[in-house]
Amino acid sequence: MIEQYLPIFVLLGIAFVLAIVLATLSRILGPYRPNRNKLQPYESGMDPVGQAKDRYSIAFYLVAMEFIVFDLEVVFLYPWAVRFMDHGTGTFLAMVIFIAILFIGLVYTLKKGTLDWDMKNLKYDATKK
């Protein structure tokens, strides 16, 4: 059992050693001249503003959740859509119910104001400090 995984461990070992060797080589062979400008955070050449771990609007989280839901919906729909003529009406109805449940969820979240980007409606506004 464990012998079957030996090549994977060998590959992991080679990758680990190679990464260390390449990083060390470039550090030895290449010039290293740190200065204030070089060590600054990269903000497309502008002055960095605020912290990297800043707070941002909760609306992004809800949009991400909806994206995952519809992403999974497409994942389930595609294999079915390729062969949907071969399957009967039972499968078709099952998929319709599946989509309907997700649609109800979408209506619910829209009512909750997921895509309502007007920040005045939110109780807590992260854009205001």
Binding site: I28, L29, G30, P31, Y32, R33, N35, N37, K38, Q40, Y42, S44, G45, M46
Partner: protein, 160 residues
């Protein structure tokens, strides 16, 4: 060379500088500083027809931390020059710079108060490309010039 006769066939002796320069010159990743219409030609330079991948420069790095060659493509205002200079400063050594097109090289037709008359006013430019805009093969030519320049450098002995 005595070493080659001792090692026999299948071995190649070289200098460390040559090896490092060979590696560097064939992996010169560009930092695309696309400022104007030259940037469109720069995209064609990286695309499949002109294929910068033949020279190891297909990886356009949009972070200066991973870039070797800055291609300044387009006219540069005084306001933008500060940002470009900082991005150049943030690129790790060793680094090279291409001024692409008439505007980046000399200011071109933008003979006015707001435009820097050539990015070599604030950047150490290695290769200039003429043209308005230059053809992508001219960018390849500049890249080959940079590669030739890298191959003449004493990279390990004097610069590490």
């Amino acid at each position: 060379m005595g070493l080659e006769s001792a090692l026999g066939n299948g071995f190649l002796t070289t200098k460390m500088d040559t090896l490092v320069n060979w590696a560097r010159s064939n992996a010169a990743w560009p930092m695309p500083m696309g400022l104007a219409c030259c940037a469109i030609e720069m995209m064609a330079f990286a695309g499949p027809r002109y294929d910068a991948a033949r020279f190891g420069s297909e990886v356009m790095r949009f972070s200066p931390r991973q870039a070797d060659v800055m291609i300044v493509a387009g006219w540069c205002t005084y306001k933008m020059s500060h940002a470009i200079r900082r991005i150049w400063d943030q690129m790790p050594d060793p680094k090279w710079c291409i001024a692409m097109g008439a505007c980046a090289s000399t200011g071109g037709m933008h003979r006015c108060y707001g435009v820097v008359q050539g990015v070599d006013n604030f950047l150490p430019v290695d290769a200039y490309i003429s043209g308005c805009p230059p053809r992508p093969d001219a960018v390849l030519h500049a890249l080959m010039k940079i590669q030739d320049k890298i191959k003449t450098e004493h990279s390990v002995m004097l610069d590490s």
